[in-house]
Subunit: 190 residues, 4 copies
DNA sequence: AATGAATGAGTGTTCATTCAT
DNA sequence: GATGAATGAACACTCATTCAT
């Protein structure tokens, strides 16, 4: 027998991401994914139970990649500002370099095809960041606000900016970027 | 007769919005819209070239409603902080009270069915806000940053928060809301 | 607009029966029915909600034709033997002349796609026959047996014989037929 | 090794029957049969040419079981009535106790997947019964009618009754059963 | 011989759009 | 202008069968 190729599963996921990126979430069909991956649509069902299953796996894959990129080099007990800086620039870098995955994660988040379980597991990846936030809050560095508000000012603006950057071909100089970072830092600190 | 036509066009748009709100974007078909509007599917094609055209018109309609709500009570020459406050709370209020229109606008913005032209026209509605921003900048009240960065910190966080609010049943007290507003204000001002 | 053509509904039913007859129940697809009827598969869904609905309508149609053929010329208060004779030969005649419908009804009876409601309505067509049976029983002409046993000896043998007739090209002379009838009559009478 | 092969073939057949009984004819796939038998779908094709071939073998297997059950205890030179009685009650018993095999045999008989050859071989198993019939006819016990008519009155009614029994939860008392038997006996004897 | 992977051809069904009136 | 009928193209998914090992 032919052995199951983990590469192929990977390839199908990759193809799916590409198609979603190219044609949008709604116009992504199993047939297209198959064609993109160079396999028969039926083959996809060898590796995934159904479309929902495939999408959930992709969602987790992306979330995993995103969060691990974000948490990269994080030092559990490190100095708050330095750590925040790392996370922020990691996030920015990932968003800029993987606009695809990024937009993808966004589109995904609203789809009814991503089930609660996956969503919860996805959220779970952000533990270290949450700990940093709590530690900073206890230390009196961060403002005494809910996590949601913290994220809304620390990270959400980045999303907006990168989105603009893409659609408007806006270029961000190092200087401006630094300025944006500072606004974010100031916004969440006392 | 002219009037009757416009009424029907209007009715179809309204029906479309209702269906999208009720059943979601993906489950909205021309047939359903027709039924909701009390006309034949074929009739829709008398008033709109195709589905894309219909959606574009709706996009503009929603954008118009959103921006006019946002600009409500705006006083062209008013004091900067007061005017910003108005706009910010208008925006927040609209987002909270029209989560559907809002999500709708968001989803739409990414949809390949909304063409550049509509998108550009949609953006155009925000003239008064842009003027406020420029005036504030000249007056040394707002930071010297691009409009995109300004929006990213002034309004984008609200989007994130409202989205959370919906999915997590988070409740925002008046006090916290005021705090959030202040963070936004501080972030964009010198 | 094109007007809905009751003929077309009829034509689709007819086509379906033909296909079922030709290819068997299991190998009958909506696509085949469409091709046979000379319409697009999608058109079938204009006239029927789904495959199950179509099959149920056909089931009832066939049952109706069969039972009305069987009850033809029946005289409510007529002499028992004469009436039984009519019914029996009607049944035989229908079975011989409409082997298609007939086999069809049989195949149908076991399909999970025919729902209880249709089945019950189908059974309902046989009222006059049941009355004849009850009357004959009260008059002491028919044996005192349940209806099921009555049918089993009066009509079921005919089914077996006709089925054989078809597959073996058996020919039934008038004489033999009369003999068979008599066996049936003797079997159910005291 | 020879033995092992036959065992596996046997196991596959058994599994197929089980699946058909459990899930019904239409919902029986090669994959399911394989899983039930604990082999790969591909393995089935080592032992059978295709699905049709497999079904034909099963058909014969069931027919064999059915006819041998029917002919059980038959005494070649025994007294006609006694022998007929045995066969009749054997048949009834088998039909009641193996409703699935039974319905199976019936369904099968009409399936295009069972080819003429299998059907003919299947019919062949009934030799002893045919001989009994001929002997009885020569002895003037049975009516002078074709075999088909004989079967139609002797056995076909049982099929109808058992089918009803199943779908209507009809219960047959010993007494009624005896009565039915007598009707059958009377119907086929002078 | 045995197998799991792979697939072409099919399934029932939906839907944006066009046709014919 | 207005319509319900009609449909081609697509959808997610299944399955008997074959491939490659």
């Amino acid at each position: 027998m032919r052995t199951k190729d983990e590469n192929k599963k990977e390839a199908i996921c990759r193809a799916a991401i590409d198609v979603i990126q190219r044609d949008g979430f709604e116009d992504t069909s199993i047939a297209k994914i198959g064609k993109e991956a160079g396999v028969s649509p039926a083959t996809i069902y060898v590796y995934f139970e159904n479309k929902e299953d495939l999408l959930n796996e992709i969602y987790l894959k992306v979330k995993r990649a995103m969060s691990s990129a974000m948490m990269q080099d994080l030092d559990e007990g490190g100095e708050i500002e330095e750590e925040f800086r790392k996370v922020w620039f990691n996030f920015y870098g990932y968003a800029v370099e993987n606009p695809v995955d990024f937009a993808f994660g966004e589109q995904f988040a609203n789809s009814p095809l991503v089930n609660r379980l996956s969503r919860d597991e996805g959220e779970g990846y952000y533990g270290p960041l949450i700990e940093l936030f709590e530690r900073g809050k206890r230390a009196g560095v961060f403002k005494d606000i809910p996590l949601a508000v913290f994220s809304a000012f620390a990270f959400f603006p980045v999303i907006g900016l990168v989105r603009n950057r893409n659609s408007e071909n806006l270029v961000f100089g190092r200087e401006l970027l630094e300025k944006v970072y500072e606004i974010a830092w100031d916004a969440v600190t006392e």
